[in-house]
């Protein structure tokens, strides 16, 4: 039925079709359907915002007020002590030096991992899109399907490999692992981006005598800023949020923020300080949240990239 009507409209195009906006039929401004629509959207927005609000409120209350048992109530007396404690003196099992240790560890893990993984993946993507060689597509296919293999399957052999390399339980170890597991999605991202650039560009540079690296560094990289931004956003949030690789490969000294947060909340003995826990949670979420809110559409492009096949 739809196919027929589709052909009918094609045969006799209505005069308005050229400027017709996409999507559903526009509705009048205020009518019951419209009110329903916004109500549903608002209710959903409340569900999504609620945890952020509760975290905020809890982190600004004192413990006696929390024990009154109303998580939605704003604090009667605002205190920043939980924030200070979470950052500076909260106990993570053995030490009581707060989350700041984890924060700096996460910084030390994230920055080199992001640089390493993006450097390697961008060169990979370039080779795969412009310098195809025999078997390159096979490797790429394995790489993409490899990204679906649960990490647990490769964990133990990777522990052996990193131990043999002498980097198990160190910053280098966890950076190495992040570089490996960032490769599939980033390579896909760069390959698709470079493949979509006009081929004439590449050919002109070759005619001018530029080689493999010359074309990459002087022609492609300068005009690929958007995709590098997408890649950085993807990797910063991804690596900052990692827990599994940090807890296994980084070593106790270098535990990232997520691991420390989990230790603060789930392994402390005695009185549970919910306000400190929530301040710590907000602090841990702050970096990816900031990246998310400031990057806007770039983040969306990053998360959607995985679904757009090349």
């Amino acid at each position: 039925m739809t196919v027929e009507s589709y052909e009918i409209t094609r045969a006799k195009p209505s005069k308005s079709s050229a400027k017709e906006p996409s999507g559903a039929k526009p509705l009048r401004r205020i009518n019951p359907t419209r009110i329903m629509l916004y109500s549903v959207l608002l209710v959903a927005a409340v569900y999504y915002l609620l945890p952020l609000y509760v975290m905020m409120m809890t982190s600004l209350k004192g413990l006696p007020e929390i024990r009154l048992g109303n998580i939605f109530a704003p604090p009667m007396e605002v205190t920043f002590a939980p924030w200070a404690k979470a950052w500076d003196t909260a106990c993570t099992g053995l030490y009581c030096e707060g989350l700041k240790v984890g924060f700096w560890n996460s910084v030390r893990i994230t920055i080199p991992s992001v640089i390493m993984s993006i450097t390697i993946a961008s060169v990979n993507g370039y080779a795969l899109s412009n310098w195809k060689f025999k078997g390159s597509e096979v490797f790429f296919t394995i790489l993409i399907f490899g990204s679906f293999i649960p990490y647990q399957v490769m964990l133990y052999p990777l522990v052996i490999v990193t131990r043999e390399l002498g980097i198990f339980g160190s910053l280098q170890g966890v950076i190495f692992i992040h570089t490996i597991f960032g490769m599939p999605i980033l390579t896909l991202l760069f390959r698709n981006y470079f493949a979509a650039l006009p081929e004439e560009l590449f050919k002109a540079a070759r005619v001018d005598g530029a080689g493999f690296w010359g074309i990459f560094l002087k022609v492609l990289v300068p005009m690929s800023a958007p995709i590098f931004v997408v890649a950085v956003i993807l990797q910063v949030t991804g690596i900052w949020n990692d827990f599994l690789f940090g807890v296994i490969f980084a070593g106790v000294k270098n535990f990232p923020m997520t691991v420390q947060l989990n230790n603060i909340v789930n392994t402390t003995q005695g009185v549970k300080e919910y306000n400190v826990n929530m301040a710590a949670t907000l602090l841990t979420g702050a970096v990816p949240l900031a990246v998310y809110f400031f990057s806007g559409r770039f983040f969306v492009r990053g998360v959607a990239a995985g679904a757009v096949k090349g």
Partner: protein, 298 residues
């Protein structure tokens, strides 16, 4: 030598091959090598360390006699099916609503997607607090005068999975919504005109015209989300630590615990091989579909 005339094909395009070495090494050593190693050693007698004594399916027999593993499997199946269903339904509805030329579209989209930027650890800890039976929502509603209000999902063996589900849905639905929205907007706009001329209601157009046309996006989203669900680990560690008792254990946690905390590598490898098999069962039909389509196009 004749190299000048006919270069060895191995050295043709040499720079690209050198540049691709990290990728080649990763695919061969990590994705293929490590996976195969795990499968092979899952048939060994390994305990604290991997050993070269192979015992057939003994590890698997033990695995499937362990109640914790069986509970883990059951949990991930229930969680997986419900999570896929709910996140697809909600994700699609939100995408369709956002597609209605609404005001503040960007604001709504930003709100629905922000949990996806947070880690599972953060997600788990927040929801652990909100669902806390003695100080969370339950207590709050009781303090409003509803003395008998009960909402202690997280404290009950029978319902703890739904607590995980609430948190997981909160974190992941925005991602499904974004992909669905891209899918909806990717549909030819002429379709809408056609449907309108035929007098088909908007909701019917979405359900019976747009959804079937979005098959590609749907399947891809399904594969990505499903492969993510199999890995479910951080959320459980942060929110319930597998409790109460072993009621919310999942396979990925079984692997981790037996590998690192209990020093029983054989069990861990057998369990992770089962996880790999599950993913292959999800993946292979998809690959078959995708490649079948590409061949047909050529």
């Amino acid at each position: 030598m004749s190299i000048a005339k006919r270069p060895n094909p191995l050295f043709r395009n040499l720079n690209a091959k050198i540049a691709a070495l990290p990728m080649i090494a990763t695919t061969l050593v990590v994705f293929l090598g490590c996976s195969i190693w795990t499968v092979i050693y899952s048939f060994s007698k390994s305990r604290a360390l991997p050993v070269n004594e192979f015992v057939g399916f003994a590890q698997y027999e033990r695995l499937f006699r362990t109640s914790r593993w069986l509970i883990s499997l059951e949990n991930i199946v229930i969680y997986g099916v419900l999570s896929l269903l709910i996140s697809f339904v909600i994700g699609f509805i939100l995408a369709a609503l956002i597609d209605q030329k609404i005001r503040f579209e960007d604001t709504f989209r930003t709100i629905y997607l922000y949990p996806f930027a947070l880690s599972f650890i953060v997600t788990g800890i927040v929801w652990q607090w909100i669902l806390n039976p003695s100080l969370g929502i339950q207590e709050t509603v009781r303090s409003w005068g509803f003395e008998n209000f009960t909402f202690d999902l997280i404290a009950n063996r029978g319902t703890v999975l739904y607590a995980l589900l609430i948190a997981g849905i909160w974190q992941g639905t925005g991602f499904v919504m974004v992909l669905m929205l891209a899918g909806i907007r990717g549909v030819d706009r002429e379709i809408w005109n056609a449907a309108r001329i035929d007098g088909i209601p908007v909701w019917k157009t979405y359900l019976f015209v747009i959804v079937p046309m979005m098959r590609g996006v749907m399947v891809t989203t399904l594969v990505i989300v499903a492969a993510g669900i199999v890995k479910l680990y951080d959320l459980v560690v942060a929110m319930t630590q597998g409790g109460p008792g072993i009621a919310s254990e999942v396979p990925a946690k079984y692997v981790y615990d037996f590998m690192f905390a209990r020093a029983n590598v054989g069990q861990a490898l057998a369990a992770s091989t089962v996880m790999l098999t599950t993913v292959l069962i999800i993946l292979i039909p998809w690959v078959y579909l995708e490649y079948g389509k590409k061949k047909a196009q050529r």
